[in-house]
Amino acid sequence: MLPKCGDCGTAFFYPRILCPHCHSRNVGWIQASGKGKLYSFEIAYRTFNPAFKVEAPFILAMVELEEGPRMMSNLINIEPDPSVVKCDMAVEVVFEKQTDEVTLALFQPAR
């Protein structure tokens, strides 16, 4: 789901109570397609956050969603190698359940 302005039609992220483009408070939610492109990335060779338990190396991803906004995530199911991972490659969401309350939106190369 993504917040979208009911007046100017802009989708944005993170959610907030007014549209950052036209400042309308007429904000609703839309179902996002889950598709986008890899706007930028990093490959972490160690953890930068002690609570994060994924073993390095892993890919930190900035995804530009088809609807416009950008979000941070991880890119999975691909070799963590800068000669393989490329900006602007097509990606799609994969939901990964962490607990009964928390599910993360990760991304993988589009099939």
């Binding site: 993170y14 060779y45 941070m72």
Partner: protein
Amino acid sequence: MKELSNSVAIVGVDESDEIGTLPNVSQLSLHLQAIHNAVMDAGLKISDVDGIFTAGQHSPALLGEALGITPRYVDGTTVGGCSFIIMVGHALVALHHGLCDVAVVSHGESGKSGTGVTRSRDTSLSGQFETPYGFGGAATNFGMITTRHMHDYGTTLEDWAQVAVSTRAWACLNPKAKFREPITVQDVLDSRALIYPFNLLNICLVTDAGGAVVLTRADRAKDCAKKPIYVRGAGEATEHTLVTNMRDLPLSRSTKNSGHKAFEMAGVTHSDFDHIMLYDAFTSGPPIMLESLGFCAPGEGVSFFQDGNSTPGGSLPINTNGGGLSYTHSGMYGIFPIIEAVRQQRGECGDRQVPGAKLSLVNGMGGMLSAAGTIILSHET
């Protein structure tokens, strides 16, 4: 703001007694040492200070209490490491209007040792939307800007390495710099891989350090101990806090806007500068700032750091103190490029002195190019 150009001068600058790894010096002591030293440098007394400007954990009220003074003007604007550069502009306005007569901009940070530090940050947004994916700290955000720059403009890891090499060459000439051994592009490329696109030598130091800057109106500045260095222009801007909300990534709107304001106030253009100080938390930062400030086309900023340009003896020296990369970086680095620019304008820099420096640019970022502060300094009015 144009009529305020040259109305205020920097009359005192200094670091804390020592900078580096100082587990026995509290963060508050770093502030107080720097303020004391900078006020002495100006030939003034602590009791002359009636305006306190500081960013970070300690409020201006705490600094006033610790100094035993009751300031009549305070400012605690905290928008990242460039806050101190922005505060030079704030102090200028306050001094100009007589809201205070002697302003101190102070920084103290026990960034390495954590002595006298309460660890707490605003993580409400990053904690929800970034930390769950393994983000944490500046490198995990500034890398995004850097990787995209490489994609858009064809910049390379060798290009960024050149910035570290050039900055280290300056550090070799600064007795206060932490690292004073020359390095090569290959050394940077071979240093420990932390997070692509950064190896260890692409990332700033982590130190304990304080620094302070004393300002007063130009008429009073003439009575101070050292040559006054006039604030010819000042600008500031903010855009985002989260990199996902940075519209023109990898270029910075805040930097562009801040620079534009400062240039306009000073009535100068890019080719007028003979000395530049840029906030270098990462090697890719200075080139991206030069591009965002309009010194060159996007993608061409790295060319400044090649031999003969911004290196010692070059035509446009950049980061002559050795920068956050090799001199010191306590966390909020922004006070230190101001101190260096003032020393260059005074002609105090010994082996690293830029001959005949007349116009210095100081530009810093807060967060991930989120906020920006720009000041233009000269010993001439």
